[in-house]
Symmetry: C2
Subunit: 165 residues, 2 copies
DNA sequence: TATAATTTTGTTATGATATAACAACTAAAA
DNA sequence: TTTTAGTTGTTATATCATAACAAAATTATA
């Protein structure tokens, strides 16, 4: 169970980004996938944001850097990154988040703060196992899991309401 | 653990609708909420659909019946029904589903078939408890849970691919 | 290396989902 | 009955996402 730190936990986020990008390069190479300039930069920008990034926010950043500014550009990059397991989509926010352990098969489980909108990814094998069992028991063949828990994070709980981090 | 039947399990769906509407009337009355014509009819239409209904699909049905056909009409009704716990939003589909046990505080856990798009609501106290514990352990105060499992339902698994129910 | 096949990107247009803002109306409370 | 609160009408627009086809770049094959 790694990377359960809040985005605000003290750590050098640049290291996270570097590691994520290195992992991405390796994974793509292994799978014969091409991590092109725009895909690589999109991944980097998603990681540079501490919070899930909307497609059009990402598009704006890419456009600033001279990439094409039409929506298909960003959605293609997102599709690629999602397919490669390098990012997750947070369904309840329509936003995208770097995946901290793309190298391991896993599910994206998230704790989302209603107040500051920070998102913490967590992994929970017990829950995964229980869900698999539940689904199987209903004759259902599980393909994907969307688990998004919303509420108040520890930081925001300690703060007066409205003062988002 | 009720109402785990597939929408295609043999049962008289009209009874479900009637029960849901009766429950809605009672709940709204108890809470001093007004289940107006458009809200009531929206709820009914959502229930009449065996699958989650998109906002604009619902809007079209309401418009056919003489209700105002501008988007705010339907989104207001949906907001009201969501707030009252009478429906759920399936985030991964951007669609809305009648809640089968609005009278009990509960979470919306769903099994969603990729093939036929039918959705089965389920309730799972063990998972709920585990998630609460997990969140609390992180200092997180849980407010809502979105659990959407996608895959292949028993019916579709038994069928040749493409032949959606 | 040429050329064919495949993948990626550019471009225009549009579809799908959702909300802001303010006016008009209606039901409930004072 | 007048106020108040809640609901609905209306117009406009914001936000999220994809279709379709052309052009370019990369990779594979002859």
């Amino acid at each position: 169970m790694k990377h359960e730190d809040s985005p605000h936990t003290h750590h050098n986020h640049n290291d996270c980004i570097d590691t994520a990008l290195d992992t991405a390069e390796i994974l793509c190479a292994q799978q014969g996938q091409r991590l092109t300039k725009v895909r690589r930069r999109a991944l980097e920008l998603i990681w540079e944001s501490h919070r899930p990034l909307g497609a059009y926010q990402l598009l704006a950043k890419l456009a600033e850097e001279g990439f094409n500014s039409a929506p298909p550009t960003v959605y293609r990059a997102l599709d690629f990154l999602l397919g490669a397991g390098l990012i997750h989509k947070v369904e309840s926010m329509n936003a995208y988040l770097g995946c901290a352990h793309a190298d391991k098969a896993h599910k994206g489980y998230f704790l989302i703060c209603d107040e500051c909108h920070n998102v913490m990814e967590f992994d929970y094998q017990d829950i995964h196992a229980a869900l698999i069992e539940k689904a199987t028991h209903q004759g259902f063949e599980l393909r994907a899991e969307t688990i998004e828990l919303t509420g108040l994070c520890a930081k925001c709980k300690a703060k007066p309401a409205g003062a988002s981090a």
